[in-house]
């Protein structure tokens, strides 16, 4: 019987003990009330740890030293309990009123303007407008020069003012909420904003906590308070907080509580709190489990009394509510380069004009005095003097400045405004897209960042969280192996047949809130009261599931007064699933206090004393509970991960069962289930005594408490009898494998970063089709820097070989390409500690870029950011991070685009994200459809805006060459101003919002079309320079055709100016019309409407007798020459573009072009045939 257990299975898929480390964020277990907070620091690597090193893991001793360290008085905040006067005497701590509004009435205008002028474009605008006001430089009239800037500023100001008004209103509501505060030994209502640090506050059930406070006592005799932290970190389950034993029996109204809390300075770590409290001469240490944080809600607890330690803006909630980070889109940063090029053009034009003017003035210097059209001399005032002439040098300088004013729209200011409008429009369509709406969570797509829409079309790397992002994070109990027998819940049992287990007590029916699939056979066994071994094993198994956890049952009233629901609240969804399963099989956990639990076993309420509880830790990977049963026996129940459980099970007792269970475990884990092994042992009195004394000793120890406790646990968790194993399914979200496949076909690399174990990660990798049986796995799993280095070198060699080998197979098989024989890199967090931030980073990156799949497991939140940074800093490719939990925040903020899943975990990730949506699979339409569209639209809109303004500037410039370089404009100043604001702006915006190069179905069907964004097909310097050449040609055509046609005629400058205005507007709009892909009525309205609007505006301007050009348009439009010129200009200007465009599209078509043709001429079927041929290559069947 003592034969050795078979060596650990090589596959070794140890599945998820998801308990307290699920999110890398600690959970406090019930018994912790006695111990304080010693080892939370394990997990409390919150978002804002000061460690620079990614994911360094504190050892026990470090933690220990930290917790024992005295907080220096200089670093500490001293809070005198119930003495706000003294507390605030020396330092004025922040009051509890909050202000999220940015401005007050007085500061609004200056601050808002200051912020707006942070944009270089606006400053340019302003400088030009100011220059224009100088008497020597007046080019435009006052009104015309200031109007555009004023308009833009006004719109933005009104928008900001409205937003700030809303913030102020919500602040006011928040500040005027009421709370009970102890004043003169009685609780009085006080407004939140008047609460001071040091005051004692009483909270009622379901109240929101007004400030960060240390719990003194609660309605629960053991000092437990339950809080919901959904507003803070988004987790919806209840968390337990404890009052210290020394304070929980005090009533502030009667006994004066006097004490001193010495706590750390306010910081934004919501999972950490360090303080100590001196009360009645005793010094107690306080940890994060002793504080209630602002924004949380008190639940399930009658009342709680606490003392305020941080208030107002110093609370952790407020410190964490930083605004969304301001990101700049890639296209926009690229665009800035082209803007610099345009500035160079502008300076060149101005230089040409001023140099020519200088030469002209020099050559005519003797004539200037009398030239009828210059007349330097002023004779009107007795003595003859120069009029408006400041010498040759100054004249040149002024000419330069004036030409900057005249040619100012070369730098397309309006572009910034139209880009913003286009993005708003694009966001509208993304939000309104029914395909991005999630039915289950009733959430729409959210566009939180408005300036990176187009980045969605160029994503090359997707970093995804696993739990809650790829999976639903809804654990479901699927099957169990008890006593060596596998009870896999058979599918196909309809809902009615197992309407859910319920018990009736005193005429009230209790029913678990969630239903679980049941195995009929197992149910029968659970319900039978026969005393067979099998039955007993089943009973013990479910008893273990019901008892061995940290779940709090809540009884919820339903609309039917005779029925009550039981809701199991806890930090681990795995435990919740197990308890629900136990309840369904008749072992319903009804009540939990710190000393006992009540379990309803098949209708009989039984009370178990909880004698001790060893909570989960990452070394033991198991937890145990010691129960005093009603029959006076003492039993220890243990559940944990198979790797560590199998070693503590007494192999001699039931070898067959053990063996069978192992087989089942293997089967479960290869199905992708998370497995747990359950064992138990009955303790005899001496064993119990021995444990009890050592447990007491360990839990009161001052030094090394955690290690001692672990040792005690290790002693008692031995020689267990195996009861069985459970299989829990963490369901993949709907459509995840397909989504990942689409993304990868589109050329996007998907990296999964998870806090889960390697085995779980790999199994999810398989089920999500990231990994297939052909994938070669390269695993890096090392404990030191040296071994990491070695591993990396080996792995790089392997990867190289793989590529060459696959090259060979390519040749022989003739079907595959190198990229299709994929290698998967699997790295764990411990190795990353050594790799990130060291010289090995580079090596890891090179290796990773050779692999088609990268899985990182056991990574801490900051390591996730580190990995994103690894890629971001080494490539120019765009990165996207998607996640749902607080642990993904750093990654979401680090990536170029952050996407939050607004699902189970709540709002922390969403708050930090740029876009938020309900499901992972929405990433596909978001990137492939909207991203593609947005990129194409924005790229085109930018290039078009450059062209549109430049063509106008060039027409002005050519005319200047015919006016002695004196910067006259034939086009009226109002038309110059309205040109980019009114005549040509709407079509760009409409096309930028509405044009679609390809339909949604095509884009989804051929994800490869996404490559257009990767190859920067819609915006690159080639397009820019071609566009500029075209611009010059078009301006030449538009300018010189009328010049030749009207040379030596009676035409006046207003008439020809109107002709140029209209010609340029028509030209620019037809140019756009030529590039529009999809003509809807809106496009028609915008383009033709703009042309009509231009005619109307020009006519209106020419209807003012006080302007020079009075009635010019009506005279000139009567002549045939005018219309012939217009027609000629349009055809000549657009001819080269038309020819080049056609030749390019016809003889070197891009993918998008082919797909468009296919879409139009309906031979998509042919494409489909090709697609099918390719399918087997892309997606090889698994084994």
């Amino acid at each position: 019987m003592d034969s050795k257990r078979p060596a650990e299975n090589s596959l070794n898929i140890e599945s998820g003990f998801a308990s307290t480390t699920r999110r890398g964020i600690a959970a406090n277990s019930v018994r912790e009330v006695n111990f304080g907070d010693q080892h939370h620091h394990h997990h409390h690597r919150g978002v804002s740890t000061k460690h620079v090193r990614y994911g360094s893991r504190a050892t026990d001793s470090e933690v220990f030293s930290v917790s024992q360290r005295e907080i220096n008085d200089e670093d500490a905040r001293l809070v005198y309990i119930n003495d706000p006067g003294k507390t605030n005497e020396r330092f004025e701590f922040a009051g509890n009123s909050v202000r999220t509004g940015k401005y007050s009435i007085l500061t609004f205008l200056p601050r808002n303007l200051f912020e707006q002028f942070h944009r270089v474009a606006y400053i340019y605008f302003l400088v030009i407008a100011v220059l224009n006001q100088l008497p020597q430089l007046v080019v435009f009239g006052r009104g015309a020069s200031i109007l555009p800037l004023a308009f833009v500023l006004l719109v933005t100001t009104v928008k900001d003012a409205y937003e700030d008004y809303r913030r102020h209103r919500s602040d006011r509501i928040e500040n005027n909420r009421l709370a009970l505060v102890l004043v003169n030994n009685q609780f009085h209502s006080k407004r939140w904003k008047d609460i001071q640090v040091g005051e004692i506050i009483k909270l009622q059930a379901n109240e929101t906590i007004p400030c960060d406070m240390v719990v003194l006592s609660t309605s629960d005799p053991t000092g437990v308070a339950y809080v919901q932290t959904i507003n803070l970190d988004g987790e919806s389950n209840l968390k337990t907080r404890y009052a210290k034993q020394e304070t929980l029996s005090k009533f502030p109204e009667k006994d004066m509580i006097c004490g001193l809390i010495r706590c750390e300075k306010p910081n934004r770590n919501i999972y950490g709190f360090q303080a100590n409290m001196e009360i009645d001469g005793k010094k107690l240490s306080l940890g994060p489990s002793n504080v209630l944080l602002r924004g949380c809600e008190l639940k399930n607890t009658g009342w709680a009394i606490g003392v305020a330690v941080y208030a107002g803006r110093e609370t952790k909630a407020m410190l964490n509510s930083s605004g969304a980070s301001c990101k700049r889109s890639r296209l926009e940063s690229r665009m800035n380069f082209e803007i610099i090029v345009l500035s160079v053009f502008l300076i060149a034009l101005c230089t040409v004009v001023s140099v020519c003017a200088a030469v002209w003035l020099r050559r005519h210097r003797h004539e200037l005095d009398f030239l009828p059209f210059y007349r330097r001399k002023n004779y009107s005032k007795g003595k003859v003097e120069n009029y408006n002439y400041y010498g040759w040098g100054m004249e040149i300088f002024f000419t330069f400045l004036m030409s900057v004013i005249v040619f100012q729209i070369m730098i397309p200011i309006s572009l910034y405004i139209s880009m913003e409008l286009v993005r708003v429009g694009q966001a509208y369509f993304m939000i309104r897209d029914t395909q991005l709406y999630d039915e289950t969570s009733n959430s729409r797509f959210q566009c939180r960042a408005l300036n990176i829409n187009e980045d969605l079309g160029q994503i090359k790397y997707v970093f995804s969280d696993k739990t809650g992002t790829l999976t639903e994070n809804k654990m479901e109990f699927q099957c169990a192996s008890i006593g060596g027998v596998d009870y896999s819940g058979r599918k196909g049992i309809s809902e009615e047949e197992h309407a859910g287990y319920s018990v009736r007590v005193d005429g009230i029916i209790f029913r678990p809130k969630m239903k679980v699939n049941v195995d009929p056979e197992l149910q029968q066994l659970a319900q039978s009261r026969k005393n067979t071994i099998k039955c007993k094993q089943v009973h013990d198994f479910f008893l273990a599931l019901a008892a061995c956890n940290a779940i709090v049952p809540l009884v919820i009233d339903t609309s039917d007064p005779t029925t009550k629901l039981i809701d199991y609240q806890g930090e681990s969804p795995d435990e919740q699933a197990l308890v629900y399963a136990a309840a369904t099989y008749g072992f319903m956990l009804i009540e939990r206090t710190s000393g006992h639990i009540v379990i309803d076993i098949q209708g009989q309420r039984q009370r178990f004393n909880v004698l001790g509880l060893h909570e989960f830790d990452s070394d033991r990977k198991r937890m145990s509970v010691i129960l005093g049963c009603p029959d006076k026996t003492v039993k220890v129940f243990v559940k944990g991960a198979d790797t560590t459980m199998l070693s503590v099970i007494d192999e001699s007792v039931n070898q067959n069962t053990l063996h069978a269970t192992e087989v089942h475990l293997h089967a479960y884990s290869s199905m992708g289930l998370r497995t747990l092994v359950v064992g138990m042992r009955e303790l005899n009195p001496s064993e119990f005594e021995q444990w009890h004394t050592s447990f007491e000793a360990a839990s009161t120890a001052l030094i090394g408490r955690a290690a001692l406790l672990r040792k005690v646990a290790g002693n008692i968790e031995s020689n267990l009898i195996i009861l069985g194993a459970s299989g829990i399914e963490d369901k993949l979200q709907q459509g995840v494998p397909e989504a990942i496949e689409s993304l990868r076909t589109a050329g996007i690399k998907v990296w999964v970063l998870t806090g889960d174990k390697q085995e779980t990660a790999i199994s999810i990798g398989y089920s999500s089709k990231l990994l297939t049986s052909t994938t070669r796995q390269i695993i890096i799993n090392s404990n030191s820097k040296e071994s990491c280095r070695r591993c990396l070198q080996q792995a790089t060699a392997t990867a190289k070989k793989l590529v060459t080998v696959s090259g060979v197979t390519c040749d022989t098989e003739g079907t595959s390409v190198a990229a299709l024989t994929p290698a998967a890199l699997i790295v764990d967090g411990t190795s990353l500690v050594y790799i990130l931030d060291s010289e090995l980073e580079e090596q890891l990156f090179k290796l990773a870029s050779k692999c088609s799949v990268v899985l990182c497991c056991r990574v801490a939140p900051l390591q996730k950011a580190g990995i994103v940074d690894l890629v971001k800093s080494r490539t120019t490719d765009m990165t996207l991070a998607i996640g749902d939990g607080a642990n993904d925040v750093s990654m979401i903020q680090m990536a170029d685009v952050g996407v939050g899943i607004s699902g189970q975990e709540g709002r922390q990730a969403v708050m930090a994200s740029d876009f938020a949506m309900g499901q992972f699979r929405f990433l596909v339409p978001l990137l492939l459809v909207h991203g593609h569209w947005n990129y194409q639209r924005m790229g085109y809109a930018i290039l078009y805006n450059f062209y549109r303004n430049a063509v106008f500037v060039f027409v002005l410039f050519w005319y200047v060459l015919f006016t002695c370089f004196s910067l006259t404009t034939a086009i009226t100043e109002w038309s110059s101003v309205l040109y980019s604001v009114l005549y040509t702006s709407l079509p760009t915006i409409v096309v930028g919002i509405l044009d679609k190069d390809l339909g949604r179905r095509t884009l989804l069907k051929y994800p490869q079309l996404y490559g257009a964004g990767h190859r920067q097909e819609c915006y690159n310097s080639k397009l820019f320079w071609l566009g500029m050449m075209d611009t010059v040609w078009q301006s030449l055509a538009a300018f010189f055709i009328p010049v030749f046609a009207y040379w030596g005629s009676t035409v006046d400058s207003s008439s020809i100016g109107d002709l140029w205005t209209i010609a340029v507007v028509i030209l620019v709009n037809l140019h756009l019309a030529m590039d529009v892909i999809r003509w809807t009525w809106t496009t028609h309205a915008a383009i033709w409407g703009s042309i009509v609007a231009t005619f109307i505006c020009v006519s209106v301007i020419d209807a003012f007798p006080s302007l020079v050009g009075y009635w010019a348009i009506f005279h000139v439009a009567k002549t045939g020459l005018f219309w012939l010129c217009l027609l000629g200009i349009v055809v000549v200007a657009l001819l080269p573009r038309f020819v080049v465009k056609f030749l390019y599209q016809y003889y070197s078509p891009c993918d998008v072009q082919i797909a468009r043709e296919a879409e139009k001429f309906g031979n998509l079927r042919e494409l489909g045939a090709i697609q099918k041929e390719m399918d087997p290559v892309l997606d090889r069947p698994q084994r």
Partner: protein, 353 residues
């Protein structure tokens, strides 16, 4: 509302109520073709057929238009006589500026020319100036439209500097443009019979009626300082000073014509026209040229072959493109929407080789 079977219906009500509440709370975006970007749309693609037919249409449209306008331009009879050099007496050729600025010199000058073809009335008389930048910024801005419009704004001369006031009272019309009013005059005769030159309706009606006030009379004009050009009769309101109105429509380009008057009778071919020119206007100081132009008009305006030639050339180029694209299409066609051109299919194909 009374319901006989309360118990069962209440159940149903509850259910429907909750479902309707769910619907009310549902944030599902409403479907509309607009919000889903599925508006009916026309998706033109540059197919060879479309492109070739465009070129054919353009060329078939442009060549006739070009021919018609060329023909129209040919029909215009134009007589152009440069007189600025010829009208300088030979003893002043070294000192042209002195001659033109002097008050004593005789500026009268006689020129003769024959009419090449019959000119149907009305025959328009223009003066054409070269190298005269009526579009110079200093010049263009030196006027006061308000002052021209109404007597009430007589003092609005701020923009007119340096011709704004004389002896502290405003000049009407002020500014450099009015100051430099053209002052050469022409008298025509055919076979010793004087031709009547009509100076009425040579300016735009809109200008006469609205832009130049009928209550605005010239004042202090060309009275002191430097004399720039013609003087105005102070008893005629600006709205009837048609020469001024024509002059004030500043020309767009440095070579320009202005209407001087109309001859309301036909001029027969080979008629010899004698013109007596009062050569007063000083273009000599800056090298400007002066021409006298007699011309008939057609729908296209004056004589200008440019547009006709341009249209014919554009039509020709388009025809050339049409033919070459047809050839290209025949020689090297590409099936539209052929998937084998897709980059990812090309890659596989390349690998297969």
């Amino acid at each position: 509302m009374m319901n006989p079977n309360g118990a069962s219906s209440s159940d149903g009500d509850g259910a429907s109520h909750s479902s309707s509440a769910l619907k009310k709370n549902s944030k599902k975006p409403k479907y509309s073709r607009f919000s889903q970007q599925e508006l009916p749309a026309c998706k033109p693609i540059l197919t060879p057929g479309l492109v070739i037919s465009t070129f054919v249409v353009v060329s078939f449209l442009f060549i006739p238009i070009g021919l018609v306008s060329l023909f129209a331009s040919e029909r215009v009879v134009e007589i152009k006589e440069r007189y600025d050099e010829d009208c300088i007496p030979s003893n002043y050729t070294k000192n042209v500026v002195g001659y033109i600025q002097s008050n004593e010199t005789n500026k009268t000058c006689v020129k003769k020319f024959t009419v090449p073809k019959k000119m149907k009335s009305p025959v328009f008389i223009y003066y054409q100036l070269d190298n005269f930048y009526q579009n110079h910024r200093r010049y263009v801005k030196s006027r006061s439209d308000k002052q021209l419009q109404s007597k009430a704004f007589e003092d609005e001369t701020e923009t007119c500097k340096p011709e704004d006031s004389a002896d502290k009272s405003p000049i009407v019309p002020c500014g450099l443009i009015a100051w430099s009013l053209f002052n050469d005059t022409y008298r025509f005769s055919v076979k010793n019979a004087a031709l009547n030159v009509s100076k009425r309706d040579i300016a735009w009606k809109s200008d006469r009626q609205h832009k130049f006030g009928s209550d605005v009379y010239p004042k202090n004009f060309q009275s002191t300082g430097l004399i720039g050009g013609a003087k105005l009769t102070t008893s005629i309101p600006l709205s009837q000073q048609e020469d001024l109105i024509v002059w004030m429509r500043t020309a767009a380009l440095p070579t320009f014509r202005k209407l001087y008057g109309k001859i309301e009778v036909d001029l027969e071919a080979d008629d010899e026209v004698t013109v007596v020119i009062e050569n007063n206007y000083n273009t000599y100081s800056f090298g400007g040229r002066k021409r006298l132009v007699l011309s008939t008009t057609t729908w296209i305006g004056g004589k200008n072959d440019f547009l006709g030639i341009a249209y014919i050339s554009i039509g020709g180029i388009c025809l050339f493109f049409a033919i070459s694209f047809i050839l290209l299409y025949v020689i090297k066609p590409r099936p539209l929407g052929d998937p084998s051109y897709l980059s990812w299919n090309k890659n596989t194909a390349a690998n297969m080789k």
